[in-house]
């Protein structure tokens, strides 16, 4: 009933208004008559009636509110009014909308990247049913890990698969396979995966050609040499051969029969696309250098299950938890917690902590840019509200309720927010895929291929919508409340700027400017630090020689080489390379400097029981000379020591300092388990061979003897002609083994892998810093201009009374720069606190770099000074006569 009446009311709006008018007029008339009867005469009777009656407007508003339909009508009217107000002030509207568009745009863009990387479900049918399972093992129990600590062994997988009650099926696959060599005319390195035979069934992926695995393929180790190819590989390597099914291909020199090709667009379950899939039972055939299928305590498999209909994540946790408990009983002292999440491209705990760690920092940074934009628009709104003070004061005086006016002002700011948000989001949606593609295709050699679908989905839309609404309220509320809380009498008289008092709202405006400057300072210093880090990474001397050195990388064990086969190969290859024209030195090393390969082991000090973790390299005696790393004490290995695999070590200076402070390291011994005693024979100068910018890790070198030959790679020094040398090396390797993939690159190229992350980060932070700077300087300029325009009369009077221009200028600047300086100080202090976060990408540079911490604030202050100076100069040029009349 009452709804119906409201609908009717909505339709007959005008009629109702007239009725209300009539009703109240009648009341007043009756009251007036009564007063007259009482003997109050003439006009006085009417005024008395009015006085008694109270505020007519407010009564009208209250009565109307009772009639209005869910206040829809008011909202509509506010919107209409707001749009008209914005259209009347195109300059203001454009600046505000642009500021918000920038803020929302960068936020939406970054979020859609994060969404694509870590939040989107897998692109398979009914993806919401797929959950990823990984484990955290507590307790000091031995455990072998291949790839990530959370992975499972094959036996553990079989246990979960057989005994769970919550999955329609559970799959396992090995996500971290070394590159596989695909044989052929020109051998090629591929990324593939070993999978359980229900892999494609669980994911509901149908092949485009042939079949996928069946249960029998996994019946016994080595039983079924079959492979499923990706659509990409089929097209690029096999010319989309329609008769590919049934043909043999060679993977790491083992024969596999192609049984199928996946549908286009399926790349597996990781951000790095898979080129092929083989049954997990073929692990040894594909990777002759390891045999993990039968190792019950080695984690190497990732698990994903498809939940049965109606099963919740809680039930999955409970059910699998029981199985985990049973497995724990086999290993005394071990307790396992399971992490179970809906599967995305990054759902395992380790991956997530990486992505979200970085994601949080970046989101915080773009959040700060949005904050500056909000402060900016809030300030503009404040200034505008002051211009509308009279209007608002009159509305309040004739009884408009404060809430109504606040609501109307908020509607206006929400309108700005939505205009800006829509603009920013559209630009972000339109450009982010291109930007992501650009970055991903410009990764350095060896970083591998990555595939992320960052196109916006409903979640991104929702995020930018929520952010926009939130933004509108954040920047609109303070000015709206401020504008309606006023002292009526002064406002109505007009507030042309008192001689002594500050302009109204000065404090709030100053605070907003301070906040902008502080936040901008944080972003700029961070950007400055990162740029300095980039500069350092580009120019830093890693402490060893890279010029003229070529690295020759190959992986013998995966190609079926054992020590017996490896030794003659290495000997022959070194001889042939050494005979190449221009080559004057050939050395062997297990890992190449800065090559993103690390070897780690534990050694025990004399008198200690706990092992310490060391990085190490296995090198020939001439390695140090070739790389220009001087031996500061003792000596390098002798040829005899190398030939006999002697237990001798060369340690770095900082290792010696840390292990034996104040003592001579030469002659000290280190134990490897119970078996071998190693003796330190030399100490080499510190250099950044392992991580760019770091020299302080424990590090030792062992001689490259006959026992190490299967895992060594070559470093070649040549005069001139790098390309010719590289070709010669490739030819020499091909002559020895045509199927071996040999990666020949300049040693200097390794630096790229270290520079790219800092380049991306520096570029991003540079863009954000520049945005922040533009927004903040527009903000400062706007506030100072407004302050000057408000005080123009005061300035005029001062000038008339004889104050000179310089004094006025000083006055204006002092007031303008006060909040700027305070904000700058707060920003510097804040940044000193957070800069530790950035130290990871700053390659050896202190996170309190003086140039960033002094230079950036000075730069920002200069910009702020300029932004205030321009309007201040205008103040001084004011003609006193004009100023006095000015209102």
């Amino acid at each position: 009933m009452s709804y119906w009446m409201r609908v009717k009311a909505l339709c007959k709006r005008k009629q109702l208004d007239r009725d209300l008018e009539d009703e109240l007029a009648f009341h007043l008339a009756m009251r007036e008559e009564k007063n007259r009867e009482r003997g109050i005469g003439g006009e006085e009777a009417r005024y008395a009636a009015r006085r008694q009656f109270g505020n007519v407007t407010r009564i009208k508003e209250a009565s109307r509110e009772a009639w209005s339909f869910l206040s829809l009508e008011t909202t509509w009217r506010d919107l209409h009014y707001g749009a008209r107000a914005l259209a009347k002030n195109p300059g203001f509207t454009a600046v505000a909308v642009l500021a918000i568009a920038l803020g929302i745009g960068v936020n939406t863009g970054i979020f859609s990247v994060l969404n694509g990387v870590a939040l989107k479900l897998l692109p398979v049918p009914s993806a919401q049913q797929i959950v990823s399972v990984d484990q955290i093992i507590h307790g000091k129990v031995p455990r072998n890990v291949e790839g990530e600590a959370g992975l499972f062994s094959y036996a553990e997988y079989k246990n979960y698969e057989a005994n769970n009650h919550v999955f329609s099926d559970l799959l396992a696959y090995a996500p971290f396979l070394d590159p596989t060599t695909l044989g052929g005319e020109t051998p090629k390195q591929l990324t593939g995966a070993e999978t359980s035979c229900n892999f494609f069934d669980v994911l509901a992926e149908r092949p485009a050609l042939g079949r996928t695995f069946v249960k029998e393929d996994c019946s016994a180790p080595g039983a079924s040499p079959v492979v499923v190819l990706s659509d990409d590989l089929w097209r690029t390597r096999f010319g989309a051969d329609p008769k590919i099914v049934g043909k043999n291909i060679s993977l790491n020199r083992a024969k596999f029969v192609v049984i199928g090709v996946t549908a286009a667009g399926f790349h597996g379950l990781d951000p790095w696309p898979s080129a092929f899939w083989v049954p997990v039972t073929m692990q040894k055939a594909l990777e002759p250098q390891r045999d993990v299928l039968g190792e019950d305590n080695t984690g190497w498999l990732a698990l994903l299950g498809r939940m049965r209909p109606g099963v919740s994540l809680e039930q999955v946790r409970a059910d699998l938890g029981v199985i985990a408990g049973r497995i724990d009983q086999q290993y005394p002292g071990r307790t396992t917690t399971l992490a179970i999440r809906r599967a995305t491209f990054m759902s395992r705990t380790d991956e997530r902590s990486d992505v979200f760690g970085i994601g949080e920092i970046v989101l915080a940074a773009v959040g700060l840019v949005l904050l500056i934009a909000c402060a900016n628009v809030a300030n503009l709104l404040l200034a505008r509200a002051s211009a509308r003070q009279k209007e608002i004061a009159i509305r309040l005086a004739i009884g408009g309720s404060r809430w109504r006016i606040v609501r109307q002002l908020l509607t206006e700011s929400l309108l700005i927010a939505f205009l800006g948000g829509t603009l920013g989001s559209l630009v972000a949606f339109w450009s982010i895929e291109g930007i992501a593609r650009y970055v991903l295709t410009h990764l350095p050699h060896g970083a591998g291929e990555l595939m992320w679908n960052v196109s916006p989905d409903l979640r991104v839309w929702g995020y930018s919508l929520a952010l926009t609404a939130f933004t509108g309220i954040v920047f609109g509320l303070a000015p709206a409340l401020h504008a309606t809380r006023q002292d009526l009498s002064t406002a109505e008289k007009g507030d042309g700027g008192g001689l002594t008092g500050k302009a109204r709202g000065g404090k709030l405006r100053g605070t907003l400017v301070g906040v902008q400057v502080a936040v901008c300072m944080v972003l700029l210093i961070a950007a400055g630090l990162l740029m300095r880090g980039l500069y350092y990474a580009q120019t830093a001397d890693p402490g060893f020689e890279m010029k003229g050195i070529t690295q020759v990388r190959f992986d013998l064990p995966s190609q079926g080489y054992n020590l017996e086969k490896a030794r003659p190969f290495q000997r022959e290859l070194m001889a042939r390379v050494a005979a190449l024209p221009g080559v004057d030195d050939v050395e062997q090393a297990r890992v190449t400097p800065l090559g993103h390969q690390w070897e780690v082991t534990g050694l025990t000090l004399v008198g200690e029981t706990q092992q310490r973790g060391f990085e190490f390299n296995v090198v020939t005696p001439g390695f140090f000379t070739m790389l220009g790393m001087p031996i500061v004490r003792g000596r390098t290995f002798t040829e005899a020591e190398a030939r006999s695999d002697a237990p001798v070590l060369v340690v770095t200076e900082s290792t010696a300092r840390r292990l034996w402070p104040g003592q001579d390291a030469i002659g000290k011994t280190l134990r490897n388990g119970e078996k071998t005693q190693f003796q330190v024979v030399g100490m080499v100068r510190d250099s950044e061979t392992s991580h760019l910018g770091q020299t302080d890790g424990l590090f030792f070198y062992m001689p490259a003897g006959p026992a190490a030959q299967d895992r060594l790679q070559l470093l070649v020094h040549s005069r001139g002609g790098d390309a010719a040398t590289a070709n010669g090396i490739r030819e020499a390797a091909r002559a020895l083994d045509a199927d071996l993939v040999v990666d020949v690159t300049k040693l200097e190229d390794n630096l790229e892998g270290w520079r790219t992350p800092s380049r991306i980060v520096a570029a991003l932070s540079g863009v954000l810093g520049a945005l922040a700077l533009v927004l903040a300087s527009v903000g400062v300029h706007g506030v100072v201009s407004y302050g000057v325009s408000q005080r123009i009369r005061e300035i005029g009077i001062r000038m008339t009374l004889g104050a000179d221009g310089r004094e006025v200028m000083k006055l204006v600047l002092r007031q303008a720069l006060k909040p700027v300086v305070i904000g700058a100080l707060v920003g510097v202090i804040g940044c000193a606190a957070v800069s530790q976060v950035l130290s990871n990408v700053l390659y050896g540079m202190g996170s309190h770099d003086p140039i960033a911490f002094v230079g950036v604030p000075l730069f920002l202050l200069c910009i702020a000074f300029l932004a205030s100076y321009i309007p201040a100069r205008r103040a001084v040029r004011v003609d006193p006569v004009v100023a006095l009349r000015y209102e």
């Binding site: 409201r6 009703e23 009756m30 009772a66």
Partner: protein
């Protein structure tokens, strides 16, 4: 703060219903009736009266009709609906119990 004659909170709706129990009245009539019936003690704020009348009308407790007043003016007359009458009975009963209870408490020495 409180002036003499201000209504206790929550009682206005009940008084309006009571004022209309004996037949239709216009807004001014309601205010005057309450004022006079209370021996000039209770003063109804017009600012509260009209929104209250409209609210009760929307709830369906009151019906409204435009008519002509005693001095030939166009006026809006309110009257109780069946629901309104029921509500009045309930409110009156509730008030009787409450005021009795309060009076008892206040008489305690």
């Amino acid at each position: 703060m409180e002036k003499d004659g201000d209504l206790m909170p929550g009682t206005l709706d009940m008084l309006v219903l009571k004022a209309l129990a004996r037949g239709a009245k216009h807004g001014y009539g309601v205010a005057e009736w309450i004022h006079e019936s209370s021996n000039d003690v209770l003063q109804v704020e017009e600012g509260a009266l009209y929104p209250a009348l409209h609210r009760l009308e929307l709830k369906g407790w009151l019906a409204a009709e435009w008519g002509t007043s005693e001095n030939n003016r166009r006026a809006k007359y309110y009257s109780l609906t069946v629901v309104g009458r029921k509500k009045l009975a309930q409110e009156a009963e509730y008030w009787r119990r409450m005021s009795g209870a309060i009076a008892k408490v206040m008489q305690m020495a």
